[in-house]
């Protein structure tokens, strides 16, 4: 295609300049030849221009495709990074023991060391009793908040349980719990 383009461009220049410089304008036959060659030169130049324009448009389309693919890849990477960050955060929250939280908060508020252990024990017993109920109610509350914001089921499950959509047993368990909590809240 490039060769054709170059040949057409070069021939149009030659057909334009060569007859005008080489042939005599006073002779009729020469004049006719000049007219013919000029017409042929215009045809060559226009054809070459059309070919080059088509090529240029194709190149532009290819560039757009490449840019779209790059953007897709970047988006994919960003999404996976976001999901892994969420999972790490979830894991970190699970690792942090509630006992530790309580001890820290009590250490800030209470100065007496002898009372501390008894208070901690009492608090822990209360917390274990209410823990599951509170956790569920907090989750249910959070689900309703997110639903009010217009979030979808999969997004809410990802946010609260840190599980991505799929056929994994973790996701199924989270989905079942989600349904149960929503039904309870709706009642």
């Amino acid at each position: 295609m490039h060769l054709k383009l170059l040949v057409l461009s070069a021939s149009s220049v030659m057909l334009w300049l060569a007859p005008l410089t080489a042939l005599d304008k006073n002779l009729d036959i020469h004049k006719a030849l000049q007219g013919l060659s000029l017409t042929a030169a215009i045809a060559c130049a226009v054809t070459a221009g059309n070919i080059a324009r088509k090529q240029s448009e194709q190149n532009e389309i290819e560039e757009i495709k490449t840019r779209a693919i790059t953007a897709d890849v970047v988006d994919e990477i960003a999404t996976s990074a976001y999901i892994s960050q969420q999972q790490r955060q979830q894991e970190a929250e699970q690792i942090l023991n509630p006992r530790e939280h309580l001890e820290r908060s009590l250490a800030l508020t209470c100065d007496d060391d002898s009372d501390l252990e008894t208070i901690v024990q009492k608090e822990l017993v209360e917390r274990e009793q209410n823990g599951s109920e509170n956790g569920e109610s907090e989750r249910a509350e959070r689900i309703m908040q997110l639903k009010a914001k217009g979030w979808g089921k999969a997004k809410i499950i990802l946010e609260i349980w840190g599980v991505t959509k799929g056929g994994s047993p973790k996701y199924k368990a989270a989905e079942a719990e989600y349904k149960r909590l929503v039904e309870e809240e709706e009642k």
Binding site: L5, A48, R53
Partner: protein, 87 residues
Amino acid sequence: MRAMYLANYFLSGCIAFSLLGWVASLHPHAFRAVLCLLAATAIIWCLSWLLDFSLSSALKISVSDLQAYLIAAGAMFLVGLGVYLCT
């Protein structure tokens, strides 16, 4: 590639003006006809420069593009007729 197609269209314009010169050299009547055509073209060209903003909005192209086309048309005229007359 974009430069290539613009160069080819410019070249075809130059050759078209040379062909116009060749037509003008065929007969005195043809010469007058070509002269009238060139005069009309020159008037339109000047008016386009004067009304470039309204023309660009009517043609839905930017003013700089319109000015580029007008300059290219002027250059085609000069190169095409110049080549024909000088050879």
